[in-house]
């Protein structure tokens, strides 16, 4: 990150771009979301001083900017690490033990939910359905998908990212990682597997969450 928290964000080209974005809308206030994105891209997160700048640009109050920014969970109101790790814990992933996976990750990296590791590399968060139910349990690193994980695989994945960098790792093993074999005719005739019979059911049951 090149910006300090106190640096003005909307200067020079970025200010021009902001003005240009504002012109796209009949009511410049509608430019609020795109400007928040600009701010987050530039500063790494939605800074307080940046919100004030946006308020000044749009002629609204900082409280109004905050109201909108805080509604969207993908806007970060606090500094985050180099990588954002978003673990889905909604129903489908949960059934495949996402909570165990997540707890294991936090324990391994000695960090709490919504917090950043001491070395500043990862910030962890729990998210609502990441829309990858077919690859449950899944997580995203900087919104890049990794699916069909289990607690051990997830730890190993993050260690790999820490050592070799996200882009290489994602290229090698990103998105659909280990698709399940196609269903056998018997499985098809049996219907959906009962709850708790997924690949993680052992661990999950031990943990009392089966």
């Amino acid at each position: 990150m090149t910006l300090n928290a106190s640096d003005k964000v909307f200067v020079k080209e970025r200010l021009e771009r902001a003005r240009e974005i504002m012109l796209r809308y009949p009511d410049s206030r509608s430019a609020l979301l795109p400007l928040l994105h600009e701010l987050q891209d530039a500063a790494g997160y939605v800074t307080q001083s940046g919100m004030r700048e946006i308020a000044d640009l749009l002629g609204i109050t900082p409280a109004e900017v905050l109201g909108t920014a805080s509604f969207y969970t993908m806007f970060k109101l606090e500094p985050i690490g180099d990588h954002l790790v978003s673990v889905c814990t909604s129903l489908s992933c949960q059934l495949y033990g996402a909570d165990v996976l997540y707890r294991n990750l936090l324990a391994h990296f000695a960090v709490a939910n919504k917090k950043t590791t001491a070395d500043g590399v990862f910030t962890f968060e729990e998210v609502e359905c990441a829309a990858a139910c077919g690859g449950a349990p899944c997580l995203q690193i900087d919104y890049k998908y990794f699916e069909f994980l289990d607690p051990e695989k997830a730890v190993e994945l993050l260690e790999d990212v820490r050592n070799r960098g996200l882009s290489i790792v994602h290229e090698e093993r990103g998105s659909v990682n280990a698709p399940l074999p196609p269903l056998t005719p018997e499985e098809v005739s049996k219907g959906p597997a009962p709850v708790g019979s997924g690949p993680l059911s052992e661990t999950a049951r031990e943990e009392g969450h089966g």
Binding site: I60, A63, E64, L66, S70, F71
Partner: protein, 805 residues
Amino acid sequence: MPENDTLSTVPISLDGREVQASPGQLLIAAAEEAGVYIPRFCWHPRLRPVAMCRMCLVEVEGMRGLQPACYVPVKEGMEVRTQTPLVKKVQEGVLEFLLLNHPLDCPVCDRGGECPLQDHTMSFGPGESRFVEEKRHFEKPVPINNLVLLDRERCIQCARCTRFASDVAGDPLLEFASRGNDLQVTVFPDEPFSSYFSGNVVQICPVGALTSIPYRFKARPWDVTIAETTCGGCAVGCRGALSETRNRLIRFLGVDNDAVSWGWLCDKGRFAYEYVGSENRLTVPLFREETAAADAFSEVSWAEAVERIAEQIQEVKGAGGNIAAIGGARLTNEEAYSLSKFMRVVCGTNDVDCQLDDGLPADFVAGARNRAVINDFAKASVIVLAGPDLKEELPVLYLRVRDAVVNQGVPLFVIGPPQSGLTDFAKKVFDTPAAFDPVLLPIAGDVVLIVGRQSAAQDAEAQSTWALGLSEQLGERVKLLPILRRSNVHGAIDMGLSPSLLPGRVTVDDLEARERLAQVWEGEFPPDPGRDCREILDAAVEGKIDILFVVGADPLTDFPDPVMARRALERTSFVVVLDLFPSSATRFADVVLPAAGWGEVSGTVTNLEGRVQRVAAKVTAPGQAASDAQVFREIAEHLEVDFGCGTPEATLREIAQVAPAYQGVSLSRFRGKKGKEGVLVGEGRVAPRTSSPFEKDARPLGNGFRLHVGRAFWDRGTLVSECPSLSGLRPGPIVRVHPEDLAFAGITDGSSVRVLDEDPAGRLDLLRTVVADERVPLGTVSVPHNQDEPFVIRVGATVTLERID
């Protein structure tokens, strides 16, 4: 909501009963009018509906699911059911849901005992909750400004406070942040809810989430007695309910009336009751020791004070000397009338003035024809505002103008200093009346013309002749609203506290009025206008005033030339000051009489529309402080004048009898639903003054800046400085200048400057901190009045600005 203009009503069926309702009116309001109360949290009659809390769900035949009564407009033939088992079940469900996270800390909550959530839970709730899990927690309570605390755990997310802040006050500083389980009301960090109207959110919050710091933990609803009264903070005259416990005022809440305030109060009006109980109040009559050094007063009894004043009057009258009175704008109508009568019949003079040369000519104010009332704003085709910054001086009037402009779309022209909060919505802003061109106005429809003194350095005569010139040009279309600032100054003028006027909006030479007065008033007074405040003080400087009554006024602060005022008081042989607090004027007094004030005296007051409303006495005045009316009556009776006016009621009867514009004003007219709106006084018989088209004002010569002296909401006035909760809120000794002017002069924002009158004869010389403010017109230096030591203001003054290094 704006009142519904549709006169025709349609039948609807309400719980099987046919009732009449106005089409378009919201179901919840229509039902209430028909006597059916539908429970609600988020709906407030003066706020835009949002249907957020779901407490008001009812069944409407033919509409799928339950409908929020606060959002569905009435249609002819609608069949509405509010009491079915389904509705009751849903009400229980909504309440159980709202209480999931509610801390139920009623025993330590300020709202306990008067809380809509408590009441609704008792009346409509399930009685039990199935929720056994841990509730949501927040830090409690957090301040959102200097006067209001927020407890997010108690909040039920009804959005009343946020809607008030953005839609009514125009200060969108209070917002919802996050969502779902984390949804919370918040201000931006380090950006408090700095609104002049912040107390209103405490009042309308349906739970104890918002509490006011001055009232917190002071009382329970069953410990207090309450009276409805009118705010004495300024000339708007907002209605409110005043609470007392153990003879102390502890709270003032807005009361909804349609004509004036809609239930709102500004923070000054709401919290200023603290001054009434201040320890600094005057409590005993004081007499200056004849021999001792300056400032040595001794306490005397009322009887002795009255006797000695009466003796002085007799002596001065016997020797053909002069008696005069200034002030009186804080009195009730009845007190002002007593002072007016006292000066005429006991002292035989018209030398009275309730304005301190800082308002408008009294005949312009009292003689305005075709007057506007506040409710005309929203119906006008245009509003022309040539007055002071309303938000600073007449705050709730600002809310009403803002509503007309922002919510009802009435175009606004602003003439003069920019209006904080309104300028952005104005169609056009003009620096001076001369720059305004009437061809810009719409060709038809009512023009509401609001006229006040924009600056203490502005020529008030010119301002009023300009306004009359414009009115004449536009004819009947114009509805004029002359506005003055001090609490009951309009009532005081109506009671004849003006050198050229008698009670009831008539001139001193009005034969009919004098005849009628002669039947009631025993005593002679001249048929010619007396001296106004400036002339009185001028004469005093020359030693020509023998007795000067200074009634609830401080000329050393408020008269534009405090140096002259001081000399005048020094040169007057006998100065009687009646006031609530020691002031700079009491230092020059020979007699100081402790007065009873707002909250202690009952009677009536008249607001800037000419609307008479009642004020109530809720506590007894401290020590021996007494109503000014009583003082004047006692002195008169001591001089064997049959003064009458023994009680406020008797005085009001006399006013209605002798004051033409007040004929028919009686206590019975303040009762009932209609009486809630007060009584508008009639037209008087003050001849319209001669008008002239406004001349192009001479632009400042040389490099001078035009001087603008306006009031700031928070100043050193008694209302603020005697209230512990408010006195820290003043902007302080600053001057405001446009940033371009500052850049040109090479002065940096925040540095010290010297403001000097360009005219060598002028005596303005101020050291202040300069603040860059884009709202100040170019070429102007704006100085807020009464922030520290008073200074001399010359009408039409131009000043220079020097940097002090």
